[in-house]
Amino acid sequence: MDLAFSLEIGIVAATAAILGSMLGLGGGVFLVPILTLFFGVDPKLAVGASAVAVVTNSIVGTTNHLRSRFTNPRLAMLLQIAAATGAIVGALYGVVADPRVIYGVFGAVLVYAAISMIVRPDRSAMPPSLDVPDRLELGAAFRDPAIGREVGYIPIRTGWGIGVGAGSGIISGMLGVGGGVVMVPTMNVLMGVPLKAAVGTSSFMIGITSVATVFVYYAGGKIDPSLVVPAVIGVFAGGQIGSRLTRRIRAQRLALLFSLILLYLGGSLLLRAFGITLPGQS
């Protein structure tokens, strides 16, 4: 693989990360489909490269969330048991699975993400849960700079959270995505965790979940440095650009356009699962 191909992969990874960052979905959601559909990369190698990039992005992103106390370490560790176990199971299956299964599951996840982007509720309006029993001592508080005061919350429905965490881990392990697309809304809407705390806790979890995934792909010989290196650099650079663009552009206004891109990629993967390749794809 030559320098030109590595540069192409780096640019694709950066673009994927810009799109993912602006939508809060992470780079892997776009990176794996683009690599497989347009560059003809083996989906398992694409998943391995994406998972490594997700870990490095989580390392960078979580530092700020820890400083702001948005991360809830107790909640993260409780959910992580299910998520990491799910990731190992998902990765063990993903390494040996028929690529058509990966195409099909990934396509379904992308179509779900696209539809949920179009119809999702205003999550910032979800009130944090308080005045509930806190038997697991998961309650926490952080200072929200947007409103200039402390926000406290006690997570509820932890059993559901653990269940969804396991499912999110399986998807993460199979597809090399972080799982934030599932965990953030789950924590926010289902468990009553404020959005900033949900994002901060999810970001912390994503790195650990993806590490569980990467070691399994490493064991399966599915870590290709010629893909991983440009993916890591591209996703890091794209994530930085994306977070700056998000502050300048109202990403919500672009949500419809991005969701159409997700629908196209998801639909293409579903068709690929049935052996149909659209024009312009490899």
Partner: protein, 138 residues
């Protein structure tokens, strides 16, 4: 008139609860700071190793490998100045950062007297250990 205005006692109780939750979160400050340091320095050192690996590959004119080497082979390749070995080390370094963070979290939960979450974090570490064992036995 809102429910909160009608019941100032409820608002006071909520403020007190939030203050207690904030104090509980603040007690975890050593954990937050230690984990933050692991992430920050872990990324910097990993990025430096990766940059050295790429530089060595460019200088020697070596293409990037298509498959990461066995973990047990990496140290010898790094010592031999092999670019592929150095890049594999960078990848493994990045993978190690979250694992070290989990260890740090377990130790800090224990030090802070939070035995329940120290043990839960230990369970997470054991699960990651299973994944690492798979990679080592490749």
């Amino acid at each position: 008139m809102s429910a909160r205005q009608a019941a100032p006692g409820v608002a006071d109780a909520q403020q007190q609860e939030i203050a207690e939750l904030a104090a509980r979160t603040e007690r975890l400050t050593p954990l937050y700071e230690a984990a933050g340091r692991v992430f920050a320095w872990g990324f910097r050192i990993g990025a430096a190793i990766l940059a050295i690996g790429i530089l060595v590959a460019v200088v020697k004119g070596e293409p990037l490998a298509h498959q990461a080497d066995r973990i047990t082979n990496v140290p010898a390749r790094v010592l031999a100045g092999d670019s592929a070995g150095i890049i594999d080390l960078a990848i493994l370094w990045f993978m190690g950062v979250p694992v070290v963070t989990v260890i740090v979290a377990a130790v800090d939960f224990w030090r802070l007297g939070d035995r329940r979450y120290a043990l839960l974090t230990l369970v997470v570490l054991i699960i990651l250990g299973v994944s690492i064992a798979l990679a080592l036995n490749r």
